[in-house]
């Protein structure tokens, strides 16, 4: 047959065509496989399910080794939205015991939640009951995209110290934004309030991860490389609290139906033995599925008890006469008075048309009896002599700054730095404050004399009052109060070991302690005069705009080797001797003796049953 050479050339067109196509495909493959890395990430996302292994959160023991907070496993239903395929919604709802409406609203909530992504695990439902968990686990293979995740719930052996212990909650967007370690994912738990919050980094432990292989239908096909790349979780560190949980429980029971706080500190170490804020709440309310609802109830503005407000360290109160031992220390240190300086008291301090009332006692008296009898006039005179002593200080303002700085050293006016969140600093005015209020040079001691007896502008937290008491018990130094005594396998932060010594001679502390001892043996605190324990104390009765006077007490014992320093503050409790002294002395007795003497049982009975709530004046907030 004749060969057509023209047509024969067409082999080059056909050959050229396939060569060009092959080249295009090779370039495409090169870009897909070598130049572009994103497919590797896609492949990993596809094939690997990184199942987070949550560590067990650290446990909490009290100072005597009693287990206070522990964990209970709970199961969350998790989902990866993009993996959900062909879900039989009704069957699923039936298994979980929820309605279709609940399912839809839960789905809608998840979509709105922080950190939502169709590619990452999202919590669909938390804290399944054991029954629901069992039922779901059996049928889980039918619901691709869903899996269960073991989590922990906090459990409490004692229904006490909710304000100190705190609780755990789901992280919110702010937590995620502030999470410098990139530890948290949406849906994780984080400590809220109390020790749970401040020791979060120790308690939370290290998360582990289990890398599972997952097929296209979402079914788990086993562990990747036999678990060679898995990371096992490390439990959080256990904490030993400085609290004596039994003492805490006892003090809480004494504060039932009263509003206020009790703080007890071991003076030598600064360890908080108990810290009561009353009214308190049941810590188990903030556990589990009902947490949100209960939290809203506790935090609600309509809840006049404000139980989440930790009065022991957030409440700023006028310290009243519990302020006087501090005054005595300053006056002695500054040389305004010596141990023999006596001031007159004619039922009060009368000077320049001003009268600060006082009650009946001998006159004139020096400092120790003044503490014993809680003489207002003595401390007003002392204060006046200091603030108006221009020869020494130049001006009232300068003298006031010296006065204020001593108080700062004694722990007032600034946060003490307790290891719990939300501590308040109280309030201590400075000279500028008065300059602004009255005009520069237009105020003098008499203008502001009420601060000398713990009234007026001065505010302190019960924790600060207890700390002052501990400082006196130590005769001149304190260690920053703290609620955690030890962290497993870690040393305590240095700030809770360090001694702070105010710039005041130890001998003045001895003198003030003696005055406080006299107050117990023959003064305002006689109810605290125990036969077998030498107690020293000081009452306080603070006028306030919320009704009846607040009842306050600070005290420590034993006198020569103090084991406990306590501050009691009962809102609208009246005289310091009415609630402050009995409660304070009962706490001291309970802690040191373990029990209350039979002849004092009636005091215990009275305190357990007494209520001060009726004396509270509740001002209705103006409604818009």
């Amino acid at each position: 047959m004749r060969k057509d050479y023209n047509l024969e050339k067409r082999r080059y067109v056909i050959g050229g065509f396939i060569v060009v196509i092959a080249l295009i495909y090779l370039v495409r493959l090169f870009t897909l496989q070598v130049a572009d890395d994103k497919y590797k990430a896609f492949a990993e996302n596809n094939a690997f399910l990184r199942k987070v292994q949550f560590p067990s959160r650290g446990l909490m023991y009290d100072r005597n080794g009693e287990l206070v907070v522990y964990n209970q496993p709970a199961y969350d239903v998790m989902m990866i939205p993009k993996d959900i395929k062909g879900l039989d919604t009704l069957d699923f709802c039936h298994t979980l015991g929820i309605t279709r409406e609940q399912f839809d609203s839960r789905m809608a909530d998840v979509k709105k939640s922080a950190g939502y992504s169709v590619y990452t695990p999202q919590r669909f439902m938390s804290h399944l009951t054991a029954r629901d968990y069992g039922r779901l686990q059996e049928k889980l293979y039918r619901y691709p995209g869903f899996f269960t995740q073991k989590r922990i719930l906090r459990q409490y052996n004692y229904l006490a110290a909710a304000n100190v212990l705190g609780n755990i909650r789901e992280v919110n967007q702010r937590d995620l934004d502030n999470d410098d370690d990139a530890y948290y994912r949406a849906g994780d738990y984080i400590g809220d309030l109390g020790v749970e919050r401040s020791y979060e980094k120790y308690l939370r432990g290290d998360k582990g991860v289990e890398i599972l292989m997952r097929d296209a239908y979402g079914r788990i096909q086993g562990r990747y490389e036999e678990g060679a790349f898995d990371v096992s979780p490390h439990s959080g560190r256990n904490l030993t609290l400085s609290l004596d949980i039994k003492l805490q429980q006892y003090a809480e029971s004494l504060m039932v139906n009263k509003i206020g706080a009790v703080v007890a500190i071991e003076p030598k170490t600064g360890e908080i033995l108990c810290m009561v804020s009353s009214p308190t709440y049941d810590p188990t309310l903030l556990v589990g599925r009902e947490r949100g609802k209960n939290y809203l109830k506790l935090a609600s503005a309509d809840n006049i008890d404000h139980p989440l407000f930790d009065r022991a360290l957030m409440g700023s109160y006028p310290p009243g006469s519990t302020f006087k031992p501090g005054q005595a220390l300053i006056l002695l240190q500054e040389g305004i008075i010596d141990l023999n300086t006596a001031y007159p008291c004619y039922h009060g301090y009368i000077n320049g048309g001003l009268k600060v009332g006082c009650h009946g006692h001998g006159s004139p008296i020096p400092v120790k009896p003044a503490l014993q009898t809680s003489c207002n006039a003595f401390f007003c005179w002392g204060f006046k002599n200091m603030i108006d002593r221009r020869s020494k200080y130049g001006s009232s303002a300068k003298a006031f700054e010296v006065w204020k700085n001593h108080l700062v050293q004694l722990g007032y006016g600034y946060r003490l730095g307790v290891d719990l969140p939300n501590e308040s600093r109280g309030f201590l005015p400075n000279a500028k404050y008065y300059d602004k209020f009255y005009g520069e040079g237009r105020w003098s001691a008499n203008t502001i004399v009420s601060v000398s007896i713990g009234q007026g502008e001065v505010l302190a937290t019960p924790l600060q009052m207890a700390n002052l008491c501990a400082t006196i018990a130590n005769r001149g130094h304190f260690i920053t109060p703290h609620a955690v005594k030890a962290i497993q396998d870690t040393v305590m932060p240095a700030e809770y070991l360090q001694t702070h010594a105010p710039d005041i001679d130890s001998r003045w502390f001895h003198a003030v302690a003696e005055g406080m001892r006299m107050a117990v043996t023959g003064g305002t605190c006689r109810l605290a005069n125990l036969p077998d324990i030498e107690v020293a104390g000081k009452t306080g009765t603070a006028q306030n705009p919320h009704g009846k006077d607040h009842s306050a007490f600070i005290g420590f014992a034993p006198y020569d080797d103090p084991q406990i320093a306590v501050a009691v503050y009962v809102e609208n409790g009246g005289f310091g001797a009415t609630f402050g002294v009995p409660i304070g002395s009962l706490v001291i007795e309970k802690y040191l003796n373990g029990s209350i003497r039979p002849e004092r049982k009636y005091i215990e009975m009275n305190m357990l049953n007494a209520s001060t709530k009726q004396f509270r004046v509740i001002r209705n907030k103006p409604k818009n």
């Binding site: 047959m1 057509d4 047509l7 024969e8 067409r10 082999r11 067109v13 056909i14 050959g15 065509f17 396939i18 060569v19 196509i21 092959a22 295009i24 495909y25 090779l26 495409r28 493959l29 090169f30 897909l32 496989q33 070598v34 572009d36 994103k38 497919y39 590797k40 896609f42 492949a43 990993e44 596809n46 094939a47 690997f48 292989m213 997952r214 097929d215 296209a216 239908y217 096909q221 086993g222």
Partner: protein, 490 residues
């Protein structure tokens, strides 16, 4: 009837001596790489043996064994039977296709599988061979020239019949593979303009559907590109195909001037109906081609006229055409063109296969280490998407090696075709090459996201007896005919 001596000569005992071993080696390489890939693709964590017949790879090995037997039988057969029985074979296969379309059970919407005892076979795979032989015989028939309309009708009829029958079986993908035979018509004298027109149609279609966003008021980017392409192609055709540089120059000036004018008006903020202006200009150019064709007696300029008018008409009707496709077809096309992101629907396969291939990197994850493969992310992994396994586990090295082996095989077949003294063998060889080209382009194109998903296997690789046997028979008949090329006396 034949004497012993003549039988000896005619049966050509030297089939193995003149066999093209190079092709055989390429074939064996592909088939073995295929079975290894199938093993990897269907491997699950039970560590079953590669030889276990319950596994896909085990079955494939059995089919490879049978393929080798079939190949051997073909090599030992008389080379003349293929030409002699080409038509009866073709008729038989067409009947079988028709019967299959009627009696075959519904498997995933397709009626193309015949169950014979324990095996299911797909006649469409074998009909390729019969069609190729029939086409070869037609071209080899006395005085046949691809000139007259009747010769075109015969050739196209031979190709269209199996396409229609296979479409009736609801196996559109396999049916499309027969379109590859138009390459053969081109080699045997069909005008290249037909292929150009087909290419232009595809390009116009893709561009107009893909770039629908408006570029300037009244014209989309796609329409603009199409107009530019029509202008450029028609002026190039005037110059290079019709060999009238003068016409090309004049038309080019006209078109470049128009584009310049549009840019100027655009920057001045003047809105004109540019689409219609371009269409008018192209019409004007077409008229000019026609006038010059008559004046200078250049018949080829008339082809330019037809091309210009046809392209414009086609591009205007694309939107209408597109609307006439079934929604799932529209979807497949849109997804494969990257217009529609639909990783859960029609784009799922392609997306997953691209992830599998893309995650392989340069050297791959290693044999049996592919996670996408093992965890069944890619559907049809062992059949139509087998190329993913190579991509994931052997990386770019593996995929480029496979493409190069295929390229060598196809170029080798073209070489074989051109060395044949017989038109019959040449046409048959081009048929084999064309079918392989089509399968290769479409199959690999779809797994790397360059073509719509059309379910056709990768030759020699994909799991399945019918496809493997079909391609083996196709290739070995060629080898047998090639080895006997010296016996052909024309």
């Amino acid at each position: 009837m034949l004497s012993g001596t003549s039988r000896k000569i005619n049966s050509d005992p030297s089939a193995f001596r003149s066999l093209d071993w190079f092709t055989v080696v390429l074939y064996l390489l592909l088939v073995l790489a295929g079975v290894v890939s199938i093993y990897a693709a269907s491997y699950d964590f039970d560590h079953a043996s590669i030889f276990s017949f319950t596994e896909f790879s085990g079955k494939q090995l059995r089919w490879i064994g049978l393929s080798l037997v079939i190949g051997l039988v073909i090599l030992l057969s008389d080379y003349r039977i293929y030409e002699t029985y080409a038509y009866p074979l073709y008729v038989m296969m067409m009947v079988l296709l028709a019967v299959t379309a009627v009696i075959a059970p519904d498997i995933k919407g397709s009626h193309s599988w015949l169950k014979i005892g324990p095996v299911s076979l797909q006649p469409a795979e074998f009909a390729k061979c019969a069609t190729a032989l029939a086409l070869a015989k037609l071209f080899n028939s006395y005085n046949f020239k691809l000139r007259s309309p009747s010769s075109y009708a015969k050739a196209i009829g031979l190709i269209i019949l199996p396409i229609l029958l296979i479409i009736a079986e609801r196996e559109t993908g396999s049916a499309l593979a027969y379109m590859a035979l138009f390459f053969v018509l081109y080699r045997e004298g069909m005008s290249g303009m037909v292929l150009l027109a087909a290419l232009a149609a595809v390009v116009i279609f893709v561009v107009s559907v893909k770039y629908v966003d408006p570029m300037i008021p009244g014209m989309s980017t796609g329409e603009f590109i199409v107009m530019i392409l029509i202008m450029a192609t028609s002026s190039l055709m005037a110059g290079l195909y019709a060999r009238s540089l003068e016409v090309m120059r004049n038309v080019s000036i006209l078109f470049i001037g128009a584009i310049g004018a549009m840019m100027l008006c655009n920057s001045l903020g003047l809105e004109l109906p540019w689409l219609w202006i371009y269409i008018g200009l192209i019409g004007l150019a077409a008229l000019y081609f026609a006038v010059m064709a008559i004046k200078d007696h250049l018949r080829k300029l008339l082809v330019c006229t037809i091309f210009a008018i046809g392209s414009v008409a086609f591009s205007l009707s694309v939107s209408v055409l597109f609307d006439h496709l079934a929604p799932h077809q529209q979807n497949r096309i849109l997804v494969s063109l990257g217009i529609k992101a639909d990783p859960r629907g029609a784009g799922y396969n392609v997306n997953q296969s691209m992830i599998a291939i893309g995650s392989g990197g340069l050297t791959g994850k290693g044999f049996l280490n592919g996670t996408q493969t093992k965890l069944k992310y890619v559907p049809e992994q062992h059949t139509d998407f087998i190329f993913c396994t190579i991509g994931e586990e052997q990386g770019f090295m593996g995929t480029s090696a496979v493409i190069l082996i295929f390229l060598m095989l196809i170029l080798r077949i073209i070489t074989l075709a051109e060395r044949q003294p017989s038109t019959f063998v040449r046409v048959y060889a081009y048929s084999v090459a064309s079918i392989l080209i089509f399968h290769l382009c479409i199959n690999i194109g779809m797994v790397i996201g360059l073509c719509p998903v059309i379910g056709i296997p990768l030759p020699f690789f994909s799991y399945g007896g019918s496809s493997l046997w079909g391609f083996t028979i196709l290739l070995f008949i060629l080898l047998r005919l090639d080895s006997a090329r010296k016996q052909f006396r024309n």
